[in-house]
């Protein structure tokens, strides 16, 4: 990825103003969608619905935020969805077996993290392109999950545990708090720690990063592990939100997460993007689906609309950045 022409569209991250501008455009887009929906459906602006959207966005965001770091290093993780499924199923069993949510949560996160780590090892030690490595991992994980679950469904978890996904605190759903917390952590990690800086540097030019004394392999491992752990977290939220899990819950999670990252303005060539952008990306996706439900538009239209949004978002992103240069 050392070839400028490939990434020529994007200016350096450190044009903070630049990034601010990009985020501003995205917020604007999100607000625009809100406005349209508010006009079309009177029930849209209700507090309940807003919280709804946020809560639904949170699941995508948890997966997408970890993915953002991977994409920042010019990598990709196609296994996040399958990872969520496996982690959820294992965490669920632990809770059933031990009756201890805490233990379940830990195993869920650990399982996700380990899978991520394995991805990292394939990418760094075995030097397999992340796209292919994680695609292979996707199949392996599915295989494991199918075998492990044998078509059963895990369900019925302690009320305390279910609070995480469905409970409220001061009138706000708990997932929304979690979303804000991890949005904060993610942003701090990417922008305000030296690891974050090193990750951006690796994404911008891996060779130069290595010759600048950055432990590239270790950072990549970290990034994939984090992505995996976030998938683990998502699995916990999922588990407690739906009070159950089966082997196929991952199928529908990966592409939306990737879409959210892209709509959020993170460049696939690495080195450019923000976690906050990803949050807005997830928000925009959710808003659209929410709107379609409220207006009872046939679900057949959802993929079409999502596709158009992804392209539009990236296109506008390029346009605005180009003008800025």
């Amino acid at each position: 990825m050392t070839d400028i022409t490939k990434g020529a569209i994007v200016p350096p991250r450190s044009f903070l103003s630049q990034d601010a501008v990009q985020l501003f455009y995205r917020l604007l887009a999100a607000l625009l969608i809100c406005a349209v929906l508010a006009v079309l459906s009177d029930s849209f602006l209700s507090l309940g619905n807003i919280l709804n959207v946020l809560r639904q966005a949170s699941l995508t965001f948890f997966i997408a935020s970890g993915l953002t770091l991977v994409v920042l290093t010019a990598g990709l993780d196609l296994s996040v969805g399958a990872n969520v499924a496996l982690s959820a199923c294992i965490a669920g069993t632990i809770i059933h077996k031990t009756g201890s949510p805490a233990l379940g949560i830990l195993t869920g996160l650990a399982c996700g993290g380990i899978v991520g780590l394995l991805n990292g090892i394939m990418v760094t030690a075995l030097r397999i392109p992340s796209f292919i490595a994680t695609y292979g991992m996707l199949w392996v994980l599915n295989g494991l999950t199918y075998w492990y679950m044998a078509g059963e469904t895990l369900h019925g978890f302690p009320a305390g545990f279910r609070q995480i996904g469905s409970g409220y605190l001061f009138g706000l759903p708990i997932p929304v708090y979690l979303l804000l917390v991890f949005l904060g952590i993610g942003t701090l990690f990417a922008q305000r720690t030296i690891w974050g800086q090193e990750i951006y540097a690796i994404g911008a030019n891996p060779v130069a990063a290595r010759l600048s004394g950055i432990p590239v392999a270790r950072r990549l491992l970290l990034v994939y592990a984090v992505s995996g752990t976030m998938a683990g977290l998502a699995s916990i939220i999922f588990l407690s939100r739906l009070n159950s899990a089966e082997a196929d819950i991952g199928e529908s999670l990966t592409l939306p997460a990737i879409a959210a990252v892209l709509i959020g303005g993170t460049s696939l060539f690495g080195g450019v993007g923000t976690v906050f952008g990803t949050f807005i990306g997830a928000l925009i996706l959710t808003l659209v689906l929410n709107g379609m439900n409220l207006l009872s538009v046939s679900a057949n239209w959802q993929p079409l609309v999502t596709g158009i949004i992804v392209i539009l978002a990236v296109w506008l992103d390029m346009k605005t950045r180009r003008r800025a240069q």
Partner: protein
């Protein structure tokens, strides 16, 4: 002789004449009313610091850029160059430093890219003819290689030959070469010069861009100097001294002897390499570098100099041998070496030294993050402050620390690469061709900088293909041949002759 007229009237009609060529980009005037003429069978040296407009001029010549103003005259009649096709019709061919070759096509396909001989079936290529034609072209430039070899297996020099063959095959009458010898070993350079002589004889005009004074005087028939997009003067080598040329280029006096206050007694040993052997093709390397020293590492291109540097820095694996730095043996990845205080300024800035899309400040602090922010918490503002300090200290010409580093000139980019190691507080600086593609003004600045570094107790190991530089600035030098240390030269023995003698292959 403020302009070169008196010379030009004595010559036949120029092959190509530029009159008042101007090219503007948002913010910069890349070319400002440039006029000069190119005559058949001459080597026309194009001199100028980076950013003086040489590359823009090349792009205009080959039709990649379209001039905003100005006229072209081909053999006296007015022509337009608005596309690469136009340029080709006029027989202009440019050989850039980044080659325009396709790695997984063979030599023949590369030479005739876009001009493949048609086969019987429409759309297909006549394989026999393309190979035959390629062989013919390669013969004319005396390059003996199977045209069906894929380019990704060729060395830099060979690729350059293919580039030239490509130009010849378009029966180019005007050949523009951008620092053709930059990546060539001495032997390869001789081959190239021989080829250039042959081309001259055939009446081909060669526009030759170089930063190496030696070449300018050895090859040049006439010299055009550019500065800040303007043509400063046109002269004959016989009529000028190197210093005069430099003054024209830089616009001020620059001492070309890179004076150094040599340390009378070198400090204690900082780096000691014992019997280093690596799969990259270096054997039993023994090197010692002391504080306050600049130690040269010379030899032909491909003799293993860069490989030694990379092995010491941990960038390449090592099979055997010991690297003792500051009393402790080190082995492992670059991050370890960097933490211990070793710095590598790699051969190719763009692909190995910098994140071109990121800002000057980002690039300056990247190696020093742990040192600057021990807490692990990064702060953009204090990073900026550090960067600003380095920018002032190194006199890096940039509008701000937020400027994209890819937009800086070569010299300033090189300063950024060095700067990031200053920030990291490195003790040993390994320079791999630190002046490659850098103009003379910047060169002496770089050397002054290195001098200051070692004066402050650091040490430097410097790889360079330009023996003059080694002789001027190094306390001692190791000469490599075929992956081994062929000899060691003390300050007094340090002459170009000795370097060449030790570096030569004894066939």
């Amino acid at each position: 002789m403020s302009d070169g007229l008196p010379i030009e009237v004595t010559l036949p009609t120029p092959l190509l004449e530029l009159r008042g060529i101007s090219k503007e980009f948002p913010g910069v005037k890349a070319l400002d009313d440039v006029s000069f003429a190119i005559y058949p069978g001459e080597v026309h040296m194009l001199l100028g610091e980076n950013g003086a407009g040489k590359s823009s001029l090349m792009k205009v010549l080959c039709g990649a850029y379209r001039a905003d103003a100005g006229e072209f005259y081909h053999k006296g009649e007015r022509v337009a160059i608005s596309s690469t096709a136009d340029a080709q019709k006029l027989g202009i061919a440019v050989i850039f430093q980044e080659f325009s070759l396709v790695p997984y096509l063979d030599i023949a396909q590369n030479i005739f890219l876009g001009r493949e001989p048609k086969g019987r079936i429409p759309g297909t290529i006549d394989r026999h003819r393309i190979l035959a034609d390629a062989r013919r072209v390669l013969d004319t430039i005396g390059f003996d290689i199977d045209p069906s070899t894929t380019v990704d297996k060729l060395g830099v020099a060979q690729q350059q030959m293919v580039e030239i063959a490509k130009a010849i095959s378009q029966n180019a009458r005007i050949l523009v070469m951008d620092e053709p010898t930059a990546a060539l070993s001495d032997r390869e350079t001789e081959l190239l010069f021989a080829l250039i002589a042959r081309l001259k004889a055939d009446g081909v005009a060669i526009v030759y861009i170089s930063h190496r004074m030696a070449e300018v005087f050895a090859l040049g028939d006439r010299i055009t100097v550019l500065r800040d997009g303007r043509r400063i003067d046109g002269v004959r080598p016989a009529d000028v001294t190197p210093d005069q040329l430099v003054r024209m280029m830089v616009g001020r006096n620059v001492d070309m002897t890179y004076p150094r206050n040599f340390a009378d007694k070198p400090g204690e040993v900082l780096l000691e390499v014992k019997g280093l052997t690596a799969p990259t093709g270096i054997f039993d390397i023994n090197i010692e570098v002391r504080r306050g020293e600049i130690v040269g590492l010379c030899g032909l291109v491909g003799s293993g100099r860069s490989e030694v540097a990379r092995a010491i820095f941990g960038a390449d694996p090592v099979t055997s041998g010991e690297i003792i730095f500051d009393g402790k043996t080190i082995s492992g990845e670059p991050d370890l070496a960097a933490r211990r205080g070793i710095a590598l300024i790699p051969e190719s800035r763009k692909s190995e030294g910098l994140a071109l899309l990121r800002s000057v400040s980002d690039n300056l602090v990247v190696s020093a993050l742990k040192k600057l922010f021990p807490s692990g918490l990064f702060d953009q503002r204090s990073a900026q402050r550090t960067a600003d300090g380095l920018i002032r200290q190194l006199r890096i010409a940039t509008p701000s620390a937020r400027q994209t580093v890819g937009l800086l000139s070569g010299g300033n980019q090189q300063k950024v690469v060095i700067g990031k190691w200053l920030a990291a507080g490195s003790k040993l600086f390994i320079f791999d061709e630190p002046t490659r593609g850098i103009d003379i003004g910047a060169k002496s600045e770089i050397f002054a900088l290195i001098d200051r570094l070692v004066a402050d107790g650091a040490a430097a190991l410097m790889i360079s293909s330009e023996q003059i530089e080694i002789c001027h600035v190094c306390d001692r030098a190791y000469v490599m041949r075929e992956g081994r240390i062929a000899g060691h030269l003390t300050r007094s023995e340090l002459t170009e002759e000795n370097i060449v003698r030790l570096g030569m292959h004894h066939a």
